[in-house]
Amino acid sequence: MTQLTDLTLAGIRDGVAKGEFTATEVAGAFNAAVAGAQDALNAFIVTTPEAALAAAAKVDADRAAGQTLGKLAGVPIGMKDLFATKGVQTTAASKILEGFVPPYESTVSQKLWDAGAGLLGKLNLDQFAMGSSNESSAFGHVISPWRRPGDTTALAPGGSSGGSSAAVAARIVPAATGTDTGGSIRQPAAFTGISGIKPTYGRCSRWGIVAFASSLDQAGPMARTVTDCAIMLEAMAGFDAKDSTSLDVPVPEWAASLSGDLRGKKVGIPREYRLDGLNEDVAKSWDAGIAWLKEAGAEVVDISLPHTQYALATYYIIAPAEASSNLARYDGVRYGQRDLPNGAGLQDMYAATRAAGFGPEVKRRIMIGTYVLSAGFYDAYYTRAQKVRALISRDFMAAFEQCDVILTPTAPSAAFALGEKSNPLDMYLGDVFSVPASLAGLPAMSVPAGLDRNGLPLGLQIIGKPLDEQGVLNAGLAIEARANFVAKPNMWW
């Protein structure tokens, strides 16, 4: 029999439902895997083995009582530590929130518990989801379970959902939540050889998720297969009256409708994404992806997204601007850490608390955001960026006149080593392929496409029309079926 921890989310759910094993056995196996990997990978900020067991016990009892089981019954998951979890510390990987125990549960996590999932623990991330390597966490870097063959250099699991990607890839969780603001689900998924989907902006409620950039943040699942992503997204998505930007539309049965048959579908290949000096292996995997989609019956069309080159600059104005305001609430008054120097007044307390509580990348983005919104600069930076954003969105809408989905690489390279990118700008440029879809609020996913010459995973990104998660998942499934990605990290921990 395969190990329980090797099973997919669907495999666990079905096995529990059929009685092949109990949810409690599953939770126990993953709890052990989590504990065994924690020192090496640092994927979790807190682990909650009892919570996982309690949820499992409930599922087992429900099953014994003959009750209908939820979509995720018996599946223990990891929760990115950006989702508020009632009674369990929630930090956004920042010192400033250390010790904060929310008296409420985020909408998305509540939906997952309602579907029968259990909490293995809170996953590490880049501080306030700001970063692409998981090096900005106040609780230590997450180490990717992947290594270059014959090389023990610690690699980045991607970011900001790096704890999530590392944990899923290491098979210490079958699935995890992520959030994606400019690529934070897709890039770490690509770096670690797993799948992840950022749904259409507004599909998943943002209520109870620590905000980074409100107009961009979206939650989504990260798992080993496209099917697992579809199942989990069904449980996470749905209208929430508590979030004004939530979309009041039904949640389709994505998993049941999955089909890798793309006959009659058109796949757009944006010429602007063929950057000068694009990494050869990345270019090769993109070509392979094109071939696979053709094989699946799709017609491939050349499209243009003319404002692509401006997406990153646009993003690095809008996201910091929103963040600078969203993070103003961390002031040491109502929760989290307070730094009150002797004799300090209120405003000194704020400045000291925020200086001590925020990490360098968070401060950097707050500073940029504060600057671009400040008097005299607002129009030149923020208003202009929102106009360019509208143009970027228009580009996509025009492209979708010609195609159903768009295929691109997820990231310009495979995982880099921790500490390799010391210049913030270098790090920002890594988001070049993922940011445009975020700016336009489009559903986008990364699926594993193969390994580069160093034996590290590469991902392909599929971008869909608004609300067409099905089209994205289907194309993902078609690639998954042909990429035959079976590589997994050697367990060195």
């Binding site: 929630t90 985020s106 943002r206 107009s215 930007t245 103003a328 609430r329 109502r334 929760y335």
Partner: protein, 500 residues
């Protein structure tokens, strides 16, 4: 339209005052602007605070529709432009009463645009001297929490009950030129808000506060530098602030100083304004559209519904009272200033018309006069007002009907009213129980008159000799003998006949 002649007499000459008011009016709602917590006044600290109001991580705003409806209705009541496309912006600054680190407000695209309010400067004749004060905009925004500074030696305490309560900020043009105009504007605005029902106008509970912008200049010169005195919470204080602040500015300039644009606080005990230390640093609010919210789009049907729901407003009502009911401008002005007074009066008129079987226009004057001269006085004596009065408009109409049909006289009516206020019993019951019915039996009256004339033969002779002033004496004696219950008209007639 009149030009204010209000001037400050400085050491070096005359100065004009220029005043603009930014009024924060709490919108009357059950729940807060962006959360479901309650807005009731006087609750236990932090009991009306949701996770949203406390700006806990991950909390999001969801707009209360009633706040929008009331702000739209208010805008319509001052004839303002309603913007069908508006938006909420964040105003970013750090303060302990502002949990989010920003106030959700409307800077770039407010809900309500340009409107106007007409003020009257002469209470005696509200039609005589009026002035139009421009309203630049009304926007909807969140209130802040409250800080308490004297509960602890080294700490201020923060109560977030008010945090997130819905406010309308009503921004006037700098069109006022005297303390009286500023006071009249605030009073009129309050009256309109209460008519509309969008704000209860309870200034002592903080439901309405004015930021008073004051500057001074030589007559005809360009505008001077203004100061903003925050959170002034009564009409009287607004007038006092204008006076004190204008005087301070004049003295400052005449002493060679310059006015700095700053935020100030009013100290009613010392009747002076002082600079606010906490607001000293130059603000850069970094306004930008709140990305947690979408633009607010209203359609024609929504606006039509708001318009249809508006009541008759004070100016229209006052005109109607004058033109259709024949009241004096003064009476119409007093009766329409407060929506509850007008409501009370209208119930009274309807009840009077019904009780007396006459059209409203015929009984309105009697009712108005009685209300203004008799009833207000009687209430005042027992320390009550119209709204705490034990006698309601229907009860009052019963009393007036008894006067109208001759059952009791006007002077007995005063006695009956006193007893009504005392006991809460109806006029008819009291008249019956105390035997206060007017004597209209001419035979009975004639008999009393005959006795009075017989008892005062000497005075009768003097009267007949031409001392006609004695007629009042005979009336008094007759009424006294009848314990005040004689029908005055019949008593007069009987005396005239007997003395002829």
């Amino acid at each position: 339209m009149t030009v204010s002649t209000y001037r400050i007499h400085g050491a070096t000459g005359e100065w004009e005052v220029v005043i603009g008011l930014e009024v924060h009016a709490q919108i009357t709602t059950q729940a807060k602007l962006f959360s479901g917590s309650a807005t009731a006044f006087g609750a236990e600290p932090n009991s009306q605070v949701s996770f949203v109001d406390a700006a806990m991580p991950g909390m999001l705003p969801v707009l209360n529709g009633e706040c929008i409806r009331q702000a739209v209705r208010t805008g319509m009541a001052i004839g303002a432009q309603i913007n069908k496309w508006s938006r909420f912006d964040r105003k970013n600054y750090f303060y302990a009463d502002l949990p989010q680190g920003y106030q959700i407000s409307q800077l770039y695209h407010p809900l309500v645009g340009e409107g106007a309010i007409e003020i009257s400067l002469d209470d005696k004749n509200p039609d005589a001297e009026t002035k139009i004060i421009g309203v630049e905009r009304i926007h909807v925004e969140q209130d802040a929490g409250k800080l308490m500074h004297d509960q602890h030696p080294t700490m201020s305490y923060v109560d977030l009950n008010r945090s997130g309560v819905a406010l309308m900020e009503i921004v006037s043009r700098p069109d006022m030129a005297s303390p009286q105009e500023a006071g009249a504007y605030l009073a009129k605005l309050r009256s309109i808000l209460r008519y509309v029902g969008s704000c209860d106008g309870n200034m002592d509970q903080g439901s309405m506060r004015a930021d008073v912008n004051v500057s001074v200049r030589r007559p005809g010169e360009p505008l001077g530098t203004r100061t903003e005195t925050k959170n002034v919470n009564s009409v009287r204080f607004v007038m006092a602030v204008v006076e004190a602040e204008a005087r301070r500015q004049v003295d400052l300039i005449e002493d060679g100083g310059t006015v700095s644009q700053e935020t100030r606080l009013y100290d009613p005990d010392k009747n002076e304004t002082r600079s606010m230390r906490s607001k000293e640093d130059a603000h850069d609010y970094r306004y930008f559209p709140d990305p947690d919210l979408l633009p607010l789009v209203l359609d024609d049907a929504y606006l039509a519904e708001c318009l249809a729901s508006l009541p008759e407003l004070p100016d229209a009502k006052r005109q109607r009272y004058e033109n259709a009911l024949g009241l004096t401008p003064y009476a119409a002005g007093v009766l329409t200033a407060e929506v509850e007074t007008a409501r009370w009066f209208e119930v009274l008129v309807t009840a009077c018309a019904k009780a007396q079987g006459k059209p409203e226009a015929e009984v309105a004057k009697q009712a108005a006069n009685w209300l203004l001269s008799e009833f207000f006085g009687a209430l005042n004596k027992i320390g009550k007002d119209l709204f705490s009065s034990p006698v309601g408009p229907e009860g009052a109409a019963e009393l007036l009907a008894l006067v109208g049909n001759g059952t009791i006289s006007g002077s007995i009516a005063k006695v009956v009213l006193e007893k009504m206020l005392e006991t809460g019993d109806g006029a008819g019951v009291i008249v019956e129980r105390e035997g206060l019915k007017q004597e209209s039996d001419t035979g009975a009256i004639d008999a009393v008159v005959a006795k009075i004339l017989a008892d005062n033969a000497e005075k009768v002779a003097q009267y007949r000799a031409g001392k006609e002033a004695l007629f009042g004496f005979f009336v008094g004696q007759t009424m006294k003998a009848m314990a005040g219950k004689g029908n005055p008209q019949l008593v007069n007639e009987a005396l005239k006949k007997a003395l002829a």
